[in-house]
């Protein structure tokens, strides 16, 4: 899976939980999920579950507590996929 595939899949998951779709269109990697994308914090756990399903990985609590930005999610997925190889 290419980096673009990973980014597109993550963006697709996030867009389910972003009310204002304009935000996802202008999002940059440093956008914070709750502060900048205005995602309800209760939905962040849903996002983690969706990512686990989409990429067939498991995200532990230590990793969960480090997720603030889109970039954090992308890096986490990349490292989990690399570890699977």
């Amino acid at each position: 899976m290419t980096a673009t595939d990973i980014n597109n899949k993550i963006t697709g998951i996030l867009s389910k939980y972003v009310f204002n779709k304009k935000l996802i269109l202008k999002a940059t990697p440093d956008f914070r999920l709750t502060k900048d994308l205005k995602i309800n914090s209760a939905r962040v756990v849903d996002i983690v579950l969706d990512i686990e399903d989409e990429f067939e990985v498991e995200i532990d609590n230590k990793s969960l507590e480090k997720i603030k930005t889109i970039s954090d999610l992308t890096s986490l997925v990349n490292s989990l996929l690399s570890a699977k190889k």
């Binding site: 204002n20 502060k35 309800n40 209760a42 849903d46 579950l49 686990e52 609590n61 969960l64 507590e65």
Partner: protein, 207 residues
């Protein structure tokens, strides 16, 4: 210095209901003791625990602005349930433990929402105001404006200040709300929340 947080959880919001019925969601959000309590105390319990965790986070993040919200790291304790309340709500007191810090919570459980407020130093001797409003038919994007209006109205009444002289701003970096009175930071600690049709706030007027 004492900090306050608050969180309102809609019990009728479909997304909330779906999430709190998902075992994997619960496993990521609650420790085994809390999961046992959810089994024991029923459907509203995960909503109550969540609102306590999030209100505690909102108070703690004022002590450490970089802290991300990881719900499982905020453990909620309620004394053997002895609900108090009249009319159509139940009031509960509790504690939240986070990385060695103990925070104090108060929660109100109703038919369609749970509202929790949390203080880093407890509530004794503090002049605190809090409130909520149900806004039927308010588009989701307008909730922030609604909660600001609610806070301004309450502060104006409490402080005997004209509503036009109160503004609610957010710190650009931390996004923590600040009440400005006559264009000066009032230094009152403020917390805003909204979920579904509900908006809510809590504010430390003075200690």
């Amino acid at each position: 210095m004492s900090f306050i947080g608050n969180d309102i959880v809609s019990l009728t919001d479909v997304n909330n209901r779906v999430s709190f019925q998902n075992d994997r969601y619960l496993q990521k959000s609650f420790v085994p003791r809390e999961l046992d309590e959810i089994k024991k105390f029923g459907k509203k319990w995960p909503f109550l625990l969540w609102s306590c965790k999030e209100s505690a986070y909102k108070a703690r993040v004022k002590q450490d602005h970089r802290k991300p919200f990881c719900p499982i790291n905020f453990q909620v304790y309620h004394s053997p349930v002895c609900p108090k309340g009249t009319g159509n709500y139940t009031a509960l007191s509790g504690q939240v433990e986070n990385e060695g810090h103990i925070l104090i919570t108060k929660s109100w459980v109703c038919n369609d929402y749970i509202h929790s407020i949390c203080s880093t130093e407890g509530f004794d001797g503090m002049n605190i105001i809090y409130g909520l409003r149900k806004n039927v038919n308010v588009p989701p994007g307008r909730q922030s404006a609604c909660v600001r209006k609610l806070v301004i109205g309450n502060l104006a009444h409490k402080l005997n200040v004209d509503v036009r002289n109160i503004k609610i701003k957010k710190d650009r970096e931390t996004e923590i709300p600040v009440a400005m009175i006559d264009n000066s930071d009032s230094e009152m600690d403020l917390s805003l929340s909204h979920d579904g049709e509900f908006v809510a706030f809590a504010c430390i007027i003075s200690i």
